[in-house]
Symmetry: C3
Subunit: 159 residues, 3 copies
């Protein structure tokens, strides 16, 4: 392994780190910047994913759609009493293709309510395509594959 | 620290990453390949571990025994409605000996039932001996030390 | 990125790894050694942190105060039937200043009682200042910012 390979791996892991902190500090307006302009993003269940169902609970085919989602979230949730915490581990470079790097990682999201109640909110894996665009690594595609088949209908936040 | 040291560390972390994804994607048939032929594998409780009790809930002294376990699991669980998700962090190289590298890591396993219920299934640490064999890093020994003294009797999956 | 930068990043991540294993193996007497002599340590809630409230539930302004805390814990908890497991991820170097490195990381602490009950004990983030002192990286400041506003009054262990 060359130094360049090591550095690229650390940079790719850094992308996940920055992504997570953006979400957990509720800086949603910065969230679309982690994606390419013509990105694909969705949240789906493992069952749907394995059955090759194209759509998910949340589904976007461009960065602008992600921005719209953030706007909608901000209008809907004037007062947000809960906090989310992402734990991400086992980040793996699956394949380096010419146009993108296929990656996967495990995640767990814990939600803490204002009164202190904590719950396991979501667990699953990211299946991503990462590409270098505009001077930074960005998600060209992100499939958030939840272990659960049933999804909290209140789920509206990005994961 | 030399580049070789950095690369080895990343390779060793990679072993844990691959191990976790193998389990979480239910590719159990590939699981024994993460171990040496004469490996030692067990799942035990922290209490038993500290009392130096030699056996555990699950106990294997060769890769073939791990293969047998997978076969038994496949026969028993024709239909498996739950999903497991491993979070592994704080992977540490404890000591580099001539024949093996002593490592430890923390893990948390979350189980999601088909209906969507999520539980903390297991937490604890891996205490491992890793060696380079047949062109890859493999576990020569893996002690899965659970924080809990009482173990779900349904526990059958590898951790 | 140069090799030195890679190595420093791994060393800084290693600090968190060692810190976590020190706590989870209940080697509390070693815990103050992860801090500088004139360190600042506190556990506070996200709400208090954002409101810029100076104090927290636990608050120390020197390594000696941390040692006193450990002594108090040892006297109070003659028998400790629970185990804690820290999961730490998304460790980020926020800024490298001349005197210290600003870092942040996400954590989740799971508590397992002797009878086997597991709970989400705490989630949140570390906001740290790390400095090189006495031949090792140490925490000059550590703010443990819990997602919860209400904190278990039994909380006494370091996080």
């Amino acid at each position: 392994m060359q130094l360049e390979v090591v550095v690229r791996r650390l940079e790719l892991e850094q992308l996940y780190t920055d992504y997570v902190h953006c979400l957990d500090t509720d800086q949603l307006e910065r969230w679309p910047e982690f994606f390419t302009e013509d990105c694909f993003y969705r949240i789906t269940s493992a069952e749907n994913y394995e059955a090759d169902m194209p759509l998910g609970l949340i589904h976007a085919t461009s960065r602008n759609m992600l921005k719209d989602r953030v706007s909608a979230l901000r209008e809907a949730n004037i007062y947000e009493p809960q906090r989310y915490r992402h734990l991400v581990s086992s980040i793996k470079i699956v394949e380096e293709r010419e146009s993108a790097v296929d990656m996967m990682a495990n995640f767990l999201v814990v939600r803490t309510m204002q009164e202190g109640d904590m719950i396991l909110f979501a667990a699953g894996r990211y299946l991503d395509q990462v590409t270098f665009a505009d001077g930074a690594w960005k998600f060209a595609r992100k499939d958030v594959v939840l272990d659960s088949c049933q999804i909290d209908t209140l789920l509206a936040i990005p994961i």
